[in-house]
Amino acid sequence: MTVIDPSPRQAERLGPLDELDTPEPLEALFGDPADPGNPVGHQAFVDADERGDFLPAGRKTLESFGIGAEFVPRALGGRLGQADDLARVLRTVFRHDGALALGLGAINLIASSTVWAAGDAGQRRWLASVLLDNHPTAGAITELAHGDDLSRTRLRATEREGGVVLDGRKEVINNVARAHAVTVLARTSEEPGSRSHTLFLVDPAAVPRERMRFLPRYRTSGMRGTHLGGVEFLDCPLPASAAVGGYGDAMETILRCFQVTKSVASGAALGMVDTMLRTVVDFGTQRRLYGRSVTELPYVEAELADVFTDLLICDAMTTTACRALHVLPRQTSVYAAATKYLVPEIEQHAADRLALVLGARSFLREGPHAAFQKHFRDLPVAALAHSGATVCLATIIPQLPRLARRSWFTSSAPEPALFQLGRPLPDLDFGQLEANAGPDDQIVATLLDVGQDRVTDPTLRTLCGRLVDELRILRDGWRALAPRNRTPFAGPVGFELAERYAVVLAASACLGVWWHNQDHPNPFMRDTAWVVSALDRLTVRLGHEPLPQAQSATRQVFAELLSRHAEHRAFDLIGRRLH
C-alpha cells in the first residue's frame, strides 16, 4: 500500500468569501482562456475537442493541481471535505472544458463515492492511492439496455471457489479502458427487486486479461474528447474481497451516493454556462447593430440579465443541496434529485436564449466565439451523463406526499450554517445519508422563516407571498393527489407538480442564501435586486405574470453583470476574480 504523502498537494483552501480579488489556485493555473497563446486557453480546448481527445496540457494542469486528491476524503489523505467546495473546484474545470471536467473530474466521484460509503478499509486505502496518484477511475454502473433502471442490471456476479466470477457487459462508461480502478454494479441474485445487486471494486491490472475485453468507443455529439467505452467480462474471476459492502446492498449504497454525485455535478456544470454567458457579453459589448452596441438593445439587456439571474438561482440551489448533504443528510434524497432535474433545465433554456443573442456565431465551431459553440454542444451531454430529468422527477414524486402531509408549514427552518457560504461544515459523512427523505423539509421552511417573517422590502414580500401561496397549494394538492400519481406510473400532473416543487425549493434556497449572507463582501449580494429578480423568474415558471416592480431589479442585475464581466469575475454567488 502506498504511503500517503500529506503535502505538498494539501494546500489550504481559500475561504469561499475571502480575498475575492485573488483567483482560486486551479483557476490561476488555467490563466486567461481568451489568450490565443495560452496552451490551456479556449482555442486549445476547441482544437482538442475537434481531434476527439483530452487536451494533454489540460490534463497536465489538472495533475499538477493534484485533481485526484479532491475526490479522496481528508481522513484518507485527500482534500474531500465539503461537497460545495468540490463543486466549485470542478466548476472551474467545466468553465474551461467539459470533457476534462467530466472525464478527469466528476467521473471519479461516481466511481469512488460508493467505496467511501461502503468499502472496507483496504479498499478505501487502495482507491485513495489510485486517486492521489491522479490515475483515472471509472464507474461501470449503467447498461445501455436498461438506462437509469439499475434494478434490471444484467451483468452477473456468481460466487465460485471462494471467489467471484463476473459475466456480462457495461456500455457507455466513461474512461473504462483507461481506468486504474473500476467499480462494477452486478446482479448477485435472480430475484427481482432491490436486494439482488452488489458492487465490486475491480483492479483491471489484477484480472486475467483474456477474461476482460473492452468495447469500441462510443461517440457523442458533444464532449467529443471524452472516452466513452464499454467493458465485457467473460467469466472473469475476482477475489471475494472485491465486493464493496454486503451482498445485496448495492442499490441502497448507490441511492445514497448518487445524492452526492447529483448535487456536486449540478453545481459543477454551471461553469459551462458561465463561459457561454461571458462569451456572449464579450460579443455584445464589442459588436454594433443598428447604430449601437448589441448590449444596449433592451431585448438583449433583458436576456443577458435573465441568464445571469438564472446562474445565481442555480448556484443557490446547488450550493444549498451540496451543503445539505452535511447539514440535513436525511433529507437530501429529494434535494439532490430536484436539483439535478431543475438546474440542467434552466441551464439548457439559458443556453438556447444566449444562442439567439449570439446569432449565427452560436453555430460556428471556429473563430473568437468558438468556446460558446463547444460548451453549447457539451451541455446536453453533461446533463444526460448522470440521471436525466425523468428519472430525477420519478425519484421525488413518491416522496412528496409525505412532505406535504408531515413537513410543509410544520418543519422549522434549518440552522443558518446551511446557507452561510463562508461557514465551514463537518466533513462529508456518507453514513449519514438516507436512501429516501425523512419528513423534515427544512429548506422549504426557509420560505416561511425568511419570506414571511423577516423580509421587509415590499416587492420581495409580494413575491414571497406568491411563493407561500404556491407551497400551500402544493401541500393541499399533494395530499389530495390520486395515489397512482405517486408511483412510477404517475401521470403528467404528478410530474408537473414535482417540477413545481423544485421551483419552490429553488426559491427557498435563494432566500436562504440571500438572508444568511448579509456579511458578503460584495454589496450586490447583500442587496435585494438579485433575489427579487430570481424570485420573479421562478414565479413566472409557476404561471405568474412578471411583477412590473421587478424591472428595476433587472437593470441592477445587468449593471452587475457588466461590471463582473469587465473585472473577469465569476457569474456566481461568490464573484471571485478569475484571472
Binding site: 427481482p192 432491490s194 441502497e252 409525505r402 429516501n436 405517486r486 408511483t487 412510477p488
Partner: protein, 94 residues
C-alpha cells in the same frame, strides 16, 4: 390514506389488520381492487419499483408512529413479509 396514529402503548396489535391495511395501501397506489392484490406476491411484480418501495416506509411510519428502516419493503418484499416484520416490531414495543 387516513393517518390515525393511536398513542403508543395502548395499541392492540392485530396481524390481520396490518395485512389488510397494507393491501389496501398497495391497491390504492395501483388503482386496482384490493382483491386483485395478493399478499404473497412481491411488490416489484406489480411494477412498484425500488423508489416506490422506499416510500412505503414513510407511509408505515406515519400510520403506526414508529421508525422503520427506509429499505423496509426491500428486505421484506411482500405484503406478508412486511406484515410479519411490523407485527414483531409492534408487539416488541407494546
Amino acid at each position: 390514506m387516513a393517518t390515525s396514529a393511536p398513542a403508543p402503548g395502548t395499541r392492540i396489535v392485530d396481524r390481520e389488520e396490518i395485512r389488510s391495511k397494507l393491501l389496501s395501501l398497495v391497491a390504492s397506489y395501483l388503482e386496482q381492487p384490493v382483491t386483485d392484490i395478493q399478499s404473497d406476491v412481491k411488490l416489484v411484480e406489480y411494477g412498484l419499483d425500488s423508489i416506490f418501495a422506499l416510500t412505503l416506509c414513510g407511509d408505515v411510519e406515519d400510520e403506526y408512529g414508529i421508525e422503520v428502516k427506509s429499505t423496509l419493503a426491500w428486505d421484506h418484499p411482500t405484503v406478508d413479509a412486511i406484515t410479519d416484520h411490523l407485527y414483531d416490531t409492534l408487539t416488541a414495543e407494546a
